[in-house]
C-alpha cells in the first residue's frame, strides 16, 4: 500500500489558485521533497493532506483511506510538523514530549522507551528540564520533530522544518530524517533550500501552484541540456544587464558567485569570452560548471513562462 497518493489536487483561496492540480505519491521509506519558493503552494498541499484544509478538487489517499471523511484516522496516524516553531515555549523539553505522548494516549512505559530513543538521536537529554524557549533554533526543531514522533507515526509530514536554522543543525536534522526513512517511515517534507532538495529520494519542483518537474534529484540534474558556464566578475549586475538581452544568452542568471550562463549555441569557453570582450563586459574568469538544482529550477520557470506566454499570444 502506498502511504500517500495525491491525485489532481486543486485548492483556491478566493480568486487565488494556490494549487493548480498536482499529483504525486510518497512510497514507504521514501523522503519526498516539495521544493519551491514561498507562495508556490507547498503549505497548501501539506495542509490538505493533514486534513486542515478541504481541497476544492482531487483526491488525497492516506494509507489507503480518503482523507475526506476519515479526518480522525488521518489525525491519529500522521505526524505533522507545521511551518512555524509550534511547541509550548514555557514547558520544558520533557513536558512537551510527554504532552504530545499523552494526547495520543501513549502509555507511560512506551513513552519512556521512546524518549530514550528520541533523546539519543536529538541529543536533547541534557536539556530535558530546560524550557523550550531557552533552546537554540536547531534544538527547537529537533524537539518539534521528537514531539511528533511520540505516537510513532508511519508517515510524517514536515512543512519547512529547517527554516531559519543554522547549516550545522540543518544537516543534523536531515540525518535524522534519512535514518527515519531508513527505518521505513515515509517522509513528506517541504523546503525552499535547494541544497536540501538533493538529499531527498524524490522531489517535486513547485512554482505558482504547479509542479515544474517531479523526479529523482540526480535524474533532474542530468536533464539540463546545455553546457553551463560560470562567469566570475566584480560587476555582476552590469554584466547581467548586458547579457540577458542577447538571444544566445537568454538563460543567464545571477548567483552569489557570479553569473550562470547556459551555452545554447555551443560557443565553448573561448567563444563566450569573445562575446564578452565584444560587448565590453569585464570578467575575471569563465569556466564550465555542472548544473545544480537551482539552475534547473530557474530554467524550468523560464521555459514555463515562455510556453505560457506563447499560449497567450
Amino acid at each position: 500500500m502506498i502511504p500517500i497518493v495525491i491525485n489532481n489536487l486543486k485548492k483556491s483561496y478566493g480568486a487565488v489558485q494556490a494549487v493548480k492540480g498536482v499529483s504525486f505519491e510518497v512510497e514507504v521509506g521514501e523522503v519526498f521533497g516539495l521544493i519551491g519558493p514561498d507562495g508556490a503552494g507547498k503549505t497548501t498541499i501539506i495542509r490538505t493532506l493533514v486534513s486542515l484544509l478541504d481541497p476544492d478538487e482531487g483526491e488525497i489517499i492516506f494509507m489507503g483511506k480518503n482523507v475526506i471523511g476519515n479526518t480522525k484516522f488521518v489525525r491519529s496516524n500522521i505526524g505533522y510538523m507545521p511551518q512555524r516553531f509550534s511547541l509550548y515555549r514555557d514547558l520544558t523539553v520533557e513536558e512537551n514530549l510527554r504532552f504530545f505522548g499523552d494526547l495520543f494516549k501513549v502509555s507511560t512505559d512506551v513513552q519512556d522507551k521512546l524518549m530514550k530513543k528520541l533523546y539519543a538521536f536529538s541529543k536533547l537529554a541534557p536539556f530535558k528540564n530546560r524550557r523550550a524557549e531557552a533552546l537554540s533554533g536547531g534544538m527547537k526543531q529537533k524537539l518539534a520533530l521528537s514531539c511528533m514522533l511520540m505516537h510513532q507515526p508511519k508517515v510524517i509530514v514536515l512543512d519547512e522544518p529547517t527554516f531559519g536554522v543554522d547549516p550545522v543543525s540543518r544537516s543534523e536534522f536531515w540525518d535524522i530524517l534519512k535514518s527515519l526513512a531508513h527505518e521505513g517511515t515515509s517522509v513528506l517534507v517541504s523546503t525552499a533550500y535547494m541544497d536540501e532538495a538533493e538529499l531527498c529520494d524524490k522531489i517535486a519542483l513547485m512554482f505558482q501552484g504547479n509542479f515544474l518537474a517531479l523526479d529523482k534529484p540526480d535524474k533532474l540534474l542530468q536533464s539540463y541540456e546545455f553546457p553551463l558556464y560560470l562567469i566570475e566578475t566584480d560587476q555582476v549586475h552590469t554584466a547581467y544587464n548586458k547579457l540577458y538581452k542577447l538571444e544566445e544568452f537568454s538563460d543567464c542568471n545571477l548567483f552569489g558567485n557570479g553569473l550562470h550562463v547556459s551555452d545554447k549555441n555551443n560557443y565553448g569557453e573561448a567563444g563566450i569570452k569573445g562575446i564578452l570582450d565584444k560587448k565590453q563586459v569585464e570578467y575575471k574568469s569563465v569556466h564550465r560548471i555542472e548544473a545544480d538544482l537551482e539552475d534547473i529550477f530557474l530554467k524550468l520557470i523560464k521555459d514555463g513562462s515562455e510556453t505560457s506566454g506563447r499560449e497567450q499570444r
Binding site: 486542515l52 500522521i78 512555524r84 509550534s86 514547558l91
Partner: protein
C-alpha cells in the same frame, strides 16, 4: 476524557509559570477594589454653592447656615444678586445657586409656602440630581424645626412637605456607593478575566502555531475547548474569592448570603463570558484582535448592566436590550446575595436567564470553533 486532563494540566503549568497571571489573580482584584471602590463614588460631597439672600431675615440666615455647615456643600459665600450668582456659576466656581426670595420669613410665618429657587449646573447630571436631593433634605429638615418652634401640632407637622419626603435606603442606609460598587467590580473583574483570558489564550496558541499542531491530533473539539475553559474558570474563581477577601478587609464589606449560591450563579454567569472569549478567538487572528473583540462586547455589557446607571433610568428600548445582557442578571444576583443575603430561591429567574444565555453562547461559540483552518 483523559485528554482533557492532560490539556488542563498543561494549561496550569503554563499559568503557574507566568508571573503576569499570578499577579492578575492576586493583585488585580485588590487594586481594582481599592482604587475603584474609593474613586467611583456616587456620594456627592463638597458641591460648591452660593446663596442669594434677598430676605435678610433670621430664618433666611439659618437656611444659609444650614448649607454652609454640611459636608455635602462647599459654601462659597453670598452673592449680591441673582445675576452675580449666575456669573459665578458660568465661570465654574459654583455648581449650585440657592435663591432665597424677599418675604421668605413672612410667607413662612403666614403659612404661605415660600419658594426657594435652586439652580443646578446640569453638566454632570448625576451630581446635579443628588445635590438637588440634598437641598430638599436640608430644606425639609429646617422647615420641620421651624414649624415645631412655632408650636404646631405633630399631626400638622407631618403635613409639612416642601417637596419630596426623604427616601430611606434599605440595606445601604448610608447610601454609600462603595457597597454598590464593590460587588459590581467583582462582576466586571470576573467578566474581564474569563472573556479576555480565554480569548487570548486560544489565540496565543494560534499565533505560536501550537493550535495547528494540536488540530492534527486525535483531540476532539469539545476536549480542546474544555481544556481551555476549565483552567480559566478556576482562575476566575480564585480571583473572585481574592476580590471578596479584599472587599472584606478594605471596606469591611463581607458577604452576607450563602457562598455556594453565589458560586453556582458565578458558574452560570461565566458560561456566557467564556463563550464570548471562545467566540472572540474564532474571529481573531492575533491576541490584540481577540482583546478588542472581547472589549467591544464588554463595554456594552457593563454599561447596560446597571453597574453605573440604573436600568430604570434608561430609555424603554434600551431597557429591552438589557434583558439580553447576562451581566444585568449577575449584577442583581451578586448585589442581592452579597449585600442582602437573599436566598437563592428568590433569584431563580436571574439564574435561569444566565444559564440559558450561558448555554446558548457557550455552545454556539464552541461550534464555531473548528479544528480546521478554512
Amino acid at each position: 476524557m483523559h485528554r482533557i486532563l492532560y490539556l488542563i494540566q498543561k494549561e496550569f503549568r503554563q499559568i503557574l509559570r507566568q508571573r503576569a497571571y499570578l499577579g492578575l489573580i492576586f493583585i488585580m482584584p485588590f487594586l481594582q477594589i481599592v482604587v475603584l471602590g474609593f474613586a467611583i463614588t456616587t456620594d456627592v460631597k463638597n458641591v460648591p454653592i452660593t446663596i442669594v439672600d434677598e430676605d435678610h431675615s433670621a430664618m433666611s440666615r439659618r437656611l444659609v447656615d444650614a448649607f454652609s455647615v454640611t459636608q455635602s456643600f462647599d459654601f462659597q459665600g453670598l452673592s449680591q444678586s441673582s445675576n452675580q450668582a449666575k456669573e459665578v456659576m458660568k465661570r465654574g466656581l459654583v455648581k449650585l445657586i440657592l435663591h432665597i426670595p424677599p418675604d421668605f420669613e413672612k410667607d413662612l410665618k403666614n403659612n404661605v409656602h415660600p419658594k426657594v429657587q435652586a439652580i443646578v449646573d446640569g453638566v454632570d447630571g448625576n451630581t446635579a440630581g443628588i445635590a438637588l436631593a440634598y437641598v430638599n433634605q436640608i430644606a425639609v429638615k429646617l422647615q420641620q424645626e421651624w414649624y415645631s418652634e412655632m408650636g404646631l401640632h405633630p399631626e400638622e407637622l407631618l403635613e409639612v412637605h416642601l417637596t419630596e419626603v426623604e427616601t430611606r435606603m434599605a440595606y445601604n442606609a448610608a447610601l454609600e456607593s462603595v457597597n454598590n460598587i464593590v460587588p459590581g467590580i467583582l462582576a466586571v473583574l470576573l467578566m474581564a478575566v474569563t472573556a479576555f483570558l480565554t480569548g487570548m489564550s486560544i489565540v496565543r496558541e494560534k499565533e505560536i502555531g501550537t493550535l495547528e499542531q494540536l488540530m492534527v491530533t486525535p483531540i476532539q473539539n469539545i476536549e480542546l475547548v474544555l481544556g481551555k475553559v476549565v483552567p480559566m474558570l478556576v482562575v476566575a474563581f480564585l480571583l473572585f474569592n481574592v476580590g471578596m477577601l479584599g472587599a472584606g478587609l478594605i471596606f469591611g464589606l463581607w458577604m452576607k448570603g450563602n457562598l455556594f449560591s453565589l458560586y453556582l450563579m458565578l458558574v452560570f454567569f461565566c458560561l456566557s463570558t467564556l463563550g464570548l472569549g471562545i467566540f472572540a478567538s474564532t474571529i481573531a487572528k492575533t491576541q490584540q484582535q481577540a482583546m478588542f473583540i472581547a472589549w467591544f462586547f464588554m463595554v456594552f455589557a457593563i454599561l447596560l448592566s446597571g453597574f453605573f446607571v440604573p436600568i430604570e433610568n434608561m430609555p424603554d428600548f434600551i431597557q429591552m436590550i438589557t434583558y439580553l445582557n447576562p451581566v444585568r442578571y449577575f449584577m442583581v444576583v451578586i448585589r442581592e446575595i452579597y449585600l442582602k443575603g437573599t436566598e437563592i430561591q428568590f433569584l431563580w429567574k436571574e439564574g435561569l436567564a444566565m444559564l440559558v444565555f450561558g448555554l446558548v453562547t457557550f455552545i454556539s461559540a464552541s461550534l464555531r470553533f473548528h479544528k480546521r483552518l478554512n
